[in-house]
Structures are given as structure tokens and as C-alpha cells.
């Protein structure tokens, strides 16, 4: 996965609601129809890093199956970061498309 994209995907996921780590991974996989596979080895360090930066916020709660789980929520700072990431992605994708798409 391209560098920085995972952060943006996680933030975007969290704009739809509070989720725990597994939930985030599943949501991304389902939404992209498994085109994007989130590696667990990258997911959790990314979550802790973003929590430290204050982009997301975590709270312990009860999962849908009655287990204690750590739930993440996006912060206003995270939303600003997501906007910046999205814009950067758009520009990047447009650039790449100009080269790859015309035959």
C-alpha cells in the first residue's frame, strides 16, 4: 500500500462511526471488496501513532459480542488531517492517471 494511504483510509473509516481495530480492518476489506487488504502488522502501530498525534481518540467499551474492546473515534484534528490527505491523494491519483490511462 502506498505510504500514508493507510492513515487516510483509517481516518475515513472512522468518519462513519466509532470502531475497534478489527472493525476498521474488516470495514476496509469489505468496502474495497478485498482489493485492499489491511495488514495487522501495520494497522495497530498506525492506530497508536495517530492516537499519539491526537488524530484519533480511543475509549474502552463493550463490543457487539459483549467483549471489552478499544474503540477509536476521529478527532477534529484527525478530520483536518483526512482532508489534507484526501486532497493530496486526489492530486497524486490524477497525476498517475495522466500517465497510465491514455493508451
Amino acid at each position: 500500500m502506498l505510504h500514508g494511504t493507510l492513515d487516510a483510509l483509517i481516518l475515513k473509516t472512522l468518519t462513519w462511526g466509532v470502531r475497534h481495530g478489527y472493525g476498521i480492518a474488516r470495514w476496509i476489506e469489505e468496502t474495497t471488496e478485498a482489493a485492499v487488504v489491511v495488514e495487522e502488522g501495520s494497522l495497530y502501530p498506525a492506530l497508536y501513532r495517530m492516537e499519539r498525534r491526537g488524530w484519533i481518540d480511543a475509549e474502552w467499551g463493550t463490543s457487539e459480542l459483549g467483549r471489552k474492546a478499544k474503540f477509536y473515534r476521529i478527532t477534529p484534528k484527525g478530520r483536518r488531517q483526512l482532508a489534507a490527505d484526501t486532497e493530496q491523494w486526489t492530486r497524486f491519483a490524477a497525476g498517475v492517471s495522466k500517465i497510465l490511462l491514455p493508451t
Binding site: 481495530g21 495487522e40 481518540d57
Partner: protein
Amino acid sequence: MKFGRQLRSRFWRPRVDEEVDAELEFHVEMRARELVERGMSPKAARDEAIARFVNIARVGETCRALGKQRDNEMRRTEYFSELSQDVRFACRQLLRNPGFSAIAVITLALGIGATAAIFSAVHSVVLRPLPFPNSNRLLSVYEVYRGGNGNVSAGNYTDGVEPVRAFEAVTAVQYSSFNISGRGDAERVIGARATAGFFNVFPMAPARGRVFTRDEDQPGRERVVVLSHRLWTRRFGADASILGREIVLNDRTYEIIGVMPPAFDLTADNEELWVPIAFTPERKAMHDEHYLQIYASLAPGATAAQALAELASNAEPIRKNFPRDASSLSFTAVPMLQDLVFNYSTRLYTLLGAVGFVLLIACGNVANLLLARGAARSSELAIRSALGAGRARITRQLLTESIVLSIVAAALGLGLAAFGIRALVAAAPAGVPRLDQTTVDLTVLAFTLLLSLVSAVLFGLAPAWRAARVDVQTAIKQGGRGAAMGGVRDRLRTGLIVAEIAVALLLLVGAGLLIRSSLAMQRLNPGFDPQGVLSARISLPAATYSDRATIVETLHRLAEAAARIPGVTSAAISTQVPMAPGGNGNGLVPEGKTPEPANLISSRLRIITPGYLEAMRIPVLKGRGLTDADRRGALKVMVVSQALAEAAFPGQDPIGKRIGCCERGPDKNTPDYKTIVGVTADVRSRGMGEAPSPEFYLPTDQVPPEAWTWIQNTVYIVVRTDLDPAVMTNPIRGVVRDIAPGVPVFNVSTMEQRLRNSMAAAKFNTLLLSLLGAVGLVLSSVGIYGVIAYFVTRRTQEIGVRMALGASRRDVVRLVFRQAAWPIALGIALGLVASALLTRVLSNQLVGVSPYDPMTFVGMVIALALVAFGASLIPASRAAALDPTKALNR
């Protein structure tokens, strides 16, 4: 969100390790469940879920590290946000009670400012290293002479000190004065003749040009001079093209080869130029004549002990080879800085201690103010406590208030210190090394900050701790009267008063002793009559005045011409006058004793023309003074002081007895003996604070030619007049211009002025300590007033009841006084003990007064008791004036 994070961190915060483990385990379980649903066996599903992490241990590790950083940052943010809350709250509190805040800040600012001012002087004079990279390796080397440190002879330096391998560099210095002539007025400056090693011992690059080399430190090649920055700017107008020019020093021309930077300022001698000393081979072989100051720099890695051991082993062959001049030679070495400031460090530390005590009293007062306010705030604090603030949290809040108070006071105090330093430097006696460089620098700033924090804890901790220990229910019910903990608080407040009184008494006793000593000093007889006498110094350049006859003839002509000045009643020449620099000392042997060191009486030499004793009115107790008849070829005579007579011939009549001195006799083996013809009263030549030392007077005509070298041809002209002696300055300059043209007159001063100067240091110390004592007294009486007034307010109702039941106003006053009496008495008792223990540090500053002088102790106890009871009189009379009905209705 921020609030949420803070809340969570405060109420429920799993340790990071558990947090990560639980989170990853949850993920594994969820993934395994998903895989089982897709048809895997539970075991395989779990293995697969873990395998997806690739290395789950590493992932956990990374997360834990990140999580810990997150928690640390959060704690820090939280801490600073609480701190800024506390500080803002503290500022609001202080502004809400401007009266309280102003009194507390001013009290503290005085204490902190005074302490910072004295500290900066101590720092500048005593603590600051010398401005050289090797400053902590610099030593002064001395010969041990009669248990003291004496100067070193050229021979002993060459054979004993120079070869020491533990020294990286070593130098021998002779401080002397130089007549600068040519181009402008003749002028007299202090300079140093030094070996070439001088600029290695004190390594600093010259601002211009170069310093002199080993080659130039040779006889015949030594006509080069390095100027100080001060001399270069003052006399030569900071002329950039000065290098290579010639100046005339003591009638010899020297080439200017360098100028040192302003920071090159070594000693209290404040020398202004340096020339090579250029020892001749004869000089290097001379083991007598001890006139050199030796400085050395230890080699890196070498220790002072190694240097001392080498010095000791080098001394041994010298003692053997020169039994006559060096039979008892031994060397010693002391750190140069300590050597330079030793005389001042005790005094300065005493002052610092005294000012520290004043600060303690100030802290005591502020603590009392805070206690009173803590009582007033008890309901506010109780509410905060009820809302969940712990005792530690409230203590922290209150301490923050103290620190804010203290820092504001420190800022104000620094301003006061800057003024104080200027006043201190201006008022201080001359000659305290490096005092003039005192400034508020970074060290002083850091010290002041530290001082304010320590003060804040001193005055703030106990009140904060007490105030935080509130019983919520009572405090709220009582609506802020805060009597719940009254008893305990009273004990604390009374304890503070006891301590303040004890410290104030200590300060007063110290000041009292110094005042008594000053008075005693003024009553001492100096041994001469300073009134109406002017003395001025001249130095005849050796190049022009080289032979004995010329020197003596010139001196006689000067004395005669000075005596002819209208208004002068008597005039004379002496190589030394009391309380003035210069002079020479000799070891004397009474006839009949062998000239071994144990028999030598170290005495101060005065070579005089006959009128000197008369001009100074030094009484001749026995025999006669010197006359014109005591000339060359006549019987060799001397006049001795009483101290010398008693040391040489105890219990005998000294007249007619002989003392050997100053040169070898005709047979070359015994000293030359001089017959005592008179005994004078003792003169306190070194200052009123010091006991008179043995002195002897020789006639100018009869001294050996070397004697003029010892004193470097430098003498004082002394005139006595019935007029104001200061008006004789110009006539004396005229006389010198006529008889010794081009020779500058310097160090002109009336003897009364010299006497005053000699007592200036003692007076300055007395003044400062008295001021501190007075401030301590005022502050502690304010403290007593505050506590007694508080006591009266708290017991208003009780007093009302007593009055209603028939107590008279006098009874009420007695009640209040009784409350005041015991802390005052206890404080005085403790203060007496502390004084008895601590006044010893003053003992070497005291003249004619014991450090346990009962008069001073009793006097100060009475003074303090009077002031303390006076301070409680105001609240007592207020209590007596209470209207019982109103008091009861409160």
C-alpha cells in the same frame, strides 16, 4: 475531546502493556471467529489470525512504545495545563487582595534583593574564577617565615621553585612603582617586573602586539614594556600606533611591544605595566633579600601535593649549601584565588549570613500573613476539597501562589539589588579585589531564582499544608472564621515569632559587637598625633639617583626646603609613615645572641631625618631622638619602639645596649651593631585593628647603601602645620620640582585621612551589619504586631466576656502582654544561644571587645524586648479600648 482524554487518563487508565495485549488478543479472537465461520478448525483459525500479524510480538512492542510516548505526552500536557490554571488562579488571588500582596511582595523583595546584592559581591570577589583557562590550577608559592607566608628570594626561586616539574609554568614578580616621564606630566604607576613565564602562568593573548619573551628577560635586553588596557587608554588615548614607540620609565627608555586586553586584571595591586625582571647571575645567586611574589600553574594532571613534595626536596640542598641565608628554608603553596581574596572572604560570608537571616525573618512574616489568609480562605478551600481536590492538589495550588508571590518579589528584588550593588561598590573601602566588577550576571540571576523558590517553600509550605487540612463540614459551617484549627495554627504562628526574635537578636548582637569594636578602635591611641600632618610620597629614579651620597643629600635638601614652607612648623623625611603602603622589614639580633632565625626579631625599618619624631609627635619615652649629630662616621645609633625594646631586652634598660642589624659588621662575621639611644612609644602603623609591631628608626646618614635599594629609593615627605594640612600639597610639589625635577609626587594624604582609611573597612562592615540588624528588628516587630493583633481579634468575644464580668482595662492589657511574653522570652533565649555560638565568626574583626561581651548581649536583649513589647502594645491597647457590648455581639 481534550477534556475526554484528560478525564479518561485520570479515572481509568490501564497500563499500556495490558492495553496493547488486550487489544491484539481481541483482534485475534475476532479474526479467528470469522475464519471458523468460513469453515476452518478453531485451532487452525487462531494460528492463521496470529500469522496475519507476521510477527505479533514485534507489533505489540511497537504499539507499547508508541503508547508509552502517548501517555507521557499526555501527562506533560496535563501537568502544564494544571500549572497554568494554578498560576492564573494564583495571580487572580493575589490581585484580589492587593494590600496583602503588596505587603508580602515588598517584605520579600527587600529580603531577596538584599541577599542577592550581597551574594553578587561574594560571587564577584570570592567565588568567581580568575579569568584564565587554568584558573583552578594557579598557585601562589611562598617561603615559610615565622609560621607565615613570606616572599621568596631570587636564589631560592631559581634553585627551588623554577625546577619543579609539577609546574607547567612559573613566574617571579616584583611589584614596584614606575615614574613615567616624557610626553605629558610625570606620573607614577604601579607596575610589575616579572620573569618571562608570567604570560604563561596567566595565559591571555595581548590585545595588540606581543608579550615579552625569554630572550628579552635577560640583563641588557630587558627594555621592553607591555601596557595594561587601562594605562594605554588613560595615558596614551588608546593610540592604535603605539607599538614600537618608546616611553621613559624611571629615567630609562623602554619600547612598547604590547597592550593587554581589559580582562587582564589580576590582583588588588592593579598593576598597569609589565617589564622583564631580567635577573643577573649575581641576583640569581642571592638567597637573602626576599622580595619576589611567585605564581605557578600546575601541569595538567599534576597535583598541588606533588608540587609541594618537589618544593620540599628542592629546599633541602639549598639549606645545606647556603646555611647563612637559607638555613631554615621551606616552601609552601596556596591556591592563588584563595590567597587573593582570603582577607575578604570571611567578612563577605559573614555579611551573606547576616543578610540571609534578614531574609529568613522576612519569610517568617510572609508565612504569618499566609497563615492568616489561609484561615480566611478556609471555606473556599473546603469547597474545593468537597469537589474532589485532594490535599496534595490543594497544597500544590497554594504553593503555586507562594511561588508566584515569590517570583514577583524576586523580580522587584533584583531591581533593588542592582541599586544595592551600586551603593555597595561606591561605599566599600578601596582595595577589595574584583568588587568593582560586581554585576547582576547569570549566576546572580540563577541564585535569585533559586532563592525565591526556596523562600516560597520556606514561607509557603507550612501554611499551605495547614490550610489544605481542612475539616470540610466545620469549615463550611463556620463560614470562614476558621477557628477549627485555631490552636494548631496559633502554635505554628507563635513558633514563627519565636524564630524571628531569635534571629533578630543574633543580628543585633553581631551588629552591637561591631559597633562596640568601632568605638573601642576610635579610643585607641595610634601612637602619633595625626592632626595637622600631611605626608606625600616620592621615588627617586635609580638611574639618576644611584649612589648613597646623592640620595641622602637630596633627601636632606628636600626636608630643609619643606621646613621653610610658610606655615610649616616641622618637616622631615621617612621611608615609611603609619597606615601607608611601602616600607621594609628586617630581622634584628640583640647583642649577645647568635644570629640564628629563632633569635631574630622581625621589625619595621624607618630611615628618617632628625625632625621626623617631632613632626609626627611620636613621644620619646626614654633617652633621645635622632639628631643632626648622628652622621656618617659618628657612633652608629638607633631609636627603637617600646615593643622592640621589650622584645630585645625584656625587663632591662635598653639605652646603651646594642642591636645588630641590616649589614655585616667590620669583621664580616657578626652583624653590624647599633647603639640604642632612645625608646619611642609604639605606633599602630598597620592600622588601628592590629597590635603595634616592633619598629626601629635609623638616621639617613648611617644606613648601608643597599638600604636604598630595599625601599626602592622611595620615601615620604612629612610636614606638620598649624594650618589645614591639605593646603601644603602644592607647596610640597613645588619643593620637589625645585630640588628633584621630574620626580612625581604621589600618594599625598593627611595623616588624619590615612587613619580614617585604615578604619574604613571596619566601619563599612559595621555600617552594613547595623543596617541589617535594624531591618531585622523592624521586620520581626512587624511580625510580633501581626500575631498579637490576630490573637486579639480572635479572642475579642472572650475579652468582651471578661470585661463584662468585671475585668479592668489593665487586666486586658496584661492578658495580651502575657500572650506576647512567652514567645518573646523564648525567642530571646534561643537567640542568646545562637549568638553565643555564632558571634565567634566575628572575632577576628573585633578590636578591644570579646565576642561574648556581656554589655552587648544584655544591651541588645533589653533593646529587642522593648521593641517587641512596644509592638504588642498597639493591639493590647486596642483590646483594652473594646466596648464589651459590641465585642459580645460579634
